[in-house]
């Protein structure tokens, strides 16, 4: 018995359970903490699937910084509580979620090709692709990150104090 099965089971359960908690918890800051656990579970699932590099990237780049930014925003400027819509959305939202799950899950399990070949999950493959076939993706990723950084600074720059 290998370690990947139990680790994947625990990580997937943590990710899906935390995601459901993030959807239903009434207080936004609790939902942000649930999001952090969901990302941690996703990172663990990636590790159990043999992508150690993605585990490190998701663990370092997403599990702490993303919830930290959202938590800072929630604590500085709290949104309304409870943060849930009423009316038709109460029924529409779970129905849409179930429809997406059924469409993606059942279709992809059936139509995607069976396993084969040697997995190319070493970081060297990422460098190779980023500099050749997927150079445009790499540049666009850098551009998106730069735009977000400059946009955030432009939005939150200090105001001129009145004289």
């Amino acid at each position: 018995m290998t370690w990947s099965g139990p680790v994947f089971g625990a990580s997937a359960a943590l990710a899906v359970g935390s995601a459901i908690a993030a959807a239903f918890l009434p207080r936004p800051r609790d939902a942000v903490l649930a999001l952090s656990l969901c990302l941690l579970g996703t990172a663990g699932a990636c590790l159990s699937l043999g992508s150690g590099y993605v585990f490190i990237v998701v663990g370092v780049g997403l599990v702490i910084p993303v919830p930290a930014a959202l938590l800072a925003a929630v604590l500085l400027a709290p949104p309304s509580e409870p943060d849930h819509r009423t009316g038709a959305r109460v029924v529409l939202a779970p129905a849409a979620g179930v429809a997406v799950f059924l469409t993606l899950g059942l279709l992809l399990v059936r139509v995607w090709p069976a396993a084969g070949g040697v997995p190319q999950t070493a970081p060297e493959w990422l460098g190779s692709r980023a500099l050749t076939d997927d150079a445009l993706t790499f540049l666009l990723t850098a551009a998106v990150l730069s735009l977000a950084a400059f946009g955030a600074v432009a939005l939150l720059r200090p105001r001129q104090s009145p004289r």
Partner: protein
């Protein structure tokens, strides 16, 4: 159930829950929480499909990098927009002087 099927179903569940969260929440922060959950599902889906199927498996790393960058950028930008809106509304004096 094989690991491939379980991983695809878990990823699809994350995307579905993310869409549901985006539709349920009212605030900008709530919507971006759902977006992040859906992106986590898409990332897991990319890793699963490209790594376990053996079809262009290095594409999984490229997709994961792009999705992780998109998740970081959207979180930072939405947090900034949320704070800017709150500051512009003038309802919270504690945020000034910035």
């Amino acid at each position: 159930m094989s690991l491939f099927s379980a991983a695809v179903l878990a990823a699809a569940a994350l995307v579905g829950v993310g869409v549901m969260t985006m539709l349920r929440r009212r605030s900008l922060i709530g919507v971006v929480i759902g977006f992040e959950v859906a992106l986590a599902g898409a990332l897991l889906l990319a890793i699963t499909l490209f790594t376990l199927s053996g079809f262009e498996s290095s594409m999984a790393l490229v997709a994961a990098m792009a999705l992780a960058a998109l998740a970081m950028a959207s979180a930072v930008l939405v947090a900034a927009v949320h704070l800017a809106m709150w500051r512009a509304s003038g309802t919270e004096r504690g945020l000034e002087p910035w």
